[in-house]
């Protein structure tokens, strides 16, 4: 079966012009589905609403499927209203990233996003009963844990994140604002200064994490290119890539080629390393070891 490729939502606070150029390229790329939506910080949303409508129109015209994703952490009245509005629209399928969205979407077809904690078959059954058609599994799941999910996912399409900085945590507190000595409600949108997140180093200078507003991301870029065949064997039908700086079209093409048996993972790894500008890569989560680890071809 052909593996489906999904491009997840932009996690960073990219300006509208950058997004426009990015999605113009994506429209001509090898992804099948593009997920749009601000999943990290509601304060960014007012700038994006119009842009996202344009992006959706562009992508639909290019033959892509478009899905809208909800906030991972919706607490305030405005954040909750944003989730309710996304779940209430009927033009496009919605992806739920918290149980509040599951409440709005119950009984209707939807996707369950990677911020829902889907670790086991019992959880999948609950999501299917709620109306989920596709479930994107959490980043920290190992291949060993994926396999039983693949065997029991009757009627559900399983997706696994295979590329991008890992969204490791989300908080009520904004670290960009905290670092700049600003209150969250008066943040001046300083996270837009770091289009690939702000580098967090250990005190001995090792690259460790990225802060992205209220979100904390991995320092290394997760790239499960050697694991594509194993994921397919595990019953995974869709691979999710997250937008990163660098040549995303080349990254997408590399995954497409490996998924179609047109390229070997070694070659694709070289393409990905070049397309991401030599950023450190990781894939340890899939192998049940530290997420920071890079396990090469032999072990995969």
């Amino acid at each position: 079966m052909t593996l489906h490729l999904t491009l997840g939502p932009v996690q960073y606070n990219w300006p509208v012009e950058r997004r426009r150029e990015f999605y113009r390229q994506i429209a001509a790329s090898a992804v099948d589905t593009v997920v749009l939506g601000e999943t990290v910080c509601f304060r960014r949303s007012p700038f994006l609403r119009e842009a996202m409508a344009e992006e959706a129109a562009l992508l639909l015209a290019a033959g892509k499927r478009v899905v809208l994703s909800t906030l991972a952490l919706a607490v305030s009245a405005a954040e909750r209203a944003d989730v309710a509005a996304l779940c209430g629209q009927a033009d496009l399928l919605t992806e739920a990233n918290d149980a509040g969205a599951l409440y709005h979407l119950r009984g209707r077809p939807h996707w369950a996003g990677p911020f829902l904690n889907t670790y086991a078959p019992g959880t999948l059954a609950v999501l299917a009963a709620n109306g989920a058609e596709q479930v994107c599994l959490p980043w920290e799941l190992s291949l060993d844990s994926l396999r039983p999910l693949g065997r029991t996912a009757a009627g559900l399409r399983l997706e696994v994140p295979v590329f991008g900085r890992v969204p490791l945590a989300i908080s009520a507190r904004c670290y960009h604002a905290r670092l700049h000595g600003l209150a969250k409600d008066g943040c001046q949108y300083v996270c837009d200064r770091d289009p690939a997140g702000l580098t967090v180093e250990t005190l001995e200078g090792a690259d460790f994490l990225r802060i992205n507003g209220v979100q904390t991301l991995s320092g290394a870029v997760h790239a499960a290119i050697h694991e594509v065949a194993a994921l397919r064997e595990a019953g995974v039908e869709s691979l999710r890539l997250m937008p990163e700086a660098g040549d995303m079209v080349a990254v997408i093409a590399a995954f497409r080629a490996v998924a179609d048996g047109q390229a070997d993972p070694e070659t694709a790894e070289r393409v990905i390393r070049e397309a991401t500008g030599g950023e450190p890569l990781c894939n340890g989560f899939l192998h049940g070891v530290d997420g920071t680890a890079w396990v090469g071809e032999a072990a995969a």
Binding site: A74, A125, E201
Partner: protein
Amino acid sequence: MTPPRPMPELVCPAGTPAALKAAVDAGADAVYFGFRDRTNARNFPGLNFSHEEVRDAVAFCHRTGVRPMVAINTFPDATDETPWHRAVDTAARAGAHAVIVADAGVAAYAARTWPDLRLHLSVQASAANPEAIRWYRDAFGISRVVLPRVFTVDQVRDTIAAVPDVEMEVFVFGGLCVMAEGRCSLSSYAAGRSPNKDGVCSPAERVRYEQDGAVMVSRLGPHVINRFGPGEEAGYPTLCKGRFKAGGQAGYLFEDPVSLDAGPILPDLAAAGVAAFKIEGRQRGKAYISAVVKSLRETLGGGTARVADRQRFLEGGRATEGAYRKSWR
């Protein structure tokens, strides 16, 4: 006239049978504890209860008039969900007042298998808005939700008003996740094991302390989490409480070493309508349990003499009211 609101109950941690007895002796209304395995979020060596000890603990609580709650609040391993199901079965058969669950699949199992068993939703489920709480209520008959530590007091009040048929429990003292609970993989990224999968954050087997001249360095896996100068207390290297470098600054990027102490705002939280006050710390000893429970019990009654008794257990000697005060906004 509306009847007076009952005083919120005090829900106390117990990592061992001895701590359980200390909590009961100190005046706990309810005690929560878990099994000695990955099914609970304090899966630390030397802690927690065997299945037989859970049965004994539940019986002891019933004899002493304290409500026993069993925490089964991690996310099951897909390769074998039976430990989570067995944990629910043992708690139900023993007559636990409630089980505290995080995973929707475990909640579904409990609701299906033990329809009369009271279900509390763990903070690890991250039900951070009324709609999320309604989803868990409608799907599994959840009676009480432990609110994530992301709310201001006003948001706690609004949430209670929005879902009046579900009880709300809030943390008032102890260790504090600065990240939304149940949504954090920092620990598994750095050191293999995580709260969600393994019930462990910043696993002890990966912690090292090493001396660098006069400086004590703490590491989690290969990563430096902190450096302590002479005279500084070398705390445990919990990842989000470490010192890091970013944007040309070095310091406590995510959170200073502090503990939650909502003592000063207990009346506000009670007036907001919370059903229960929760104390964190199943990994703590009898002395902590006894002092904190007595101190908070006294604060609930309007006294102030024992405040210092609990404050000596604050991490770094400092208290925060966390997200309850609007300083995070």
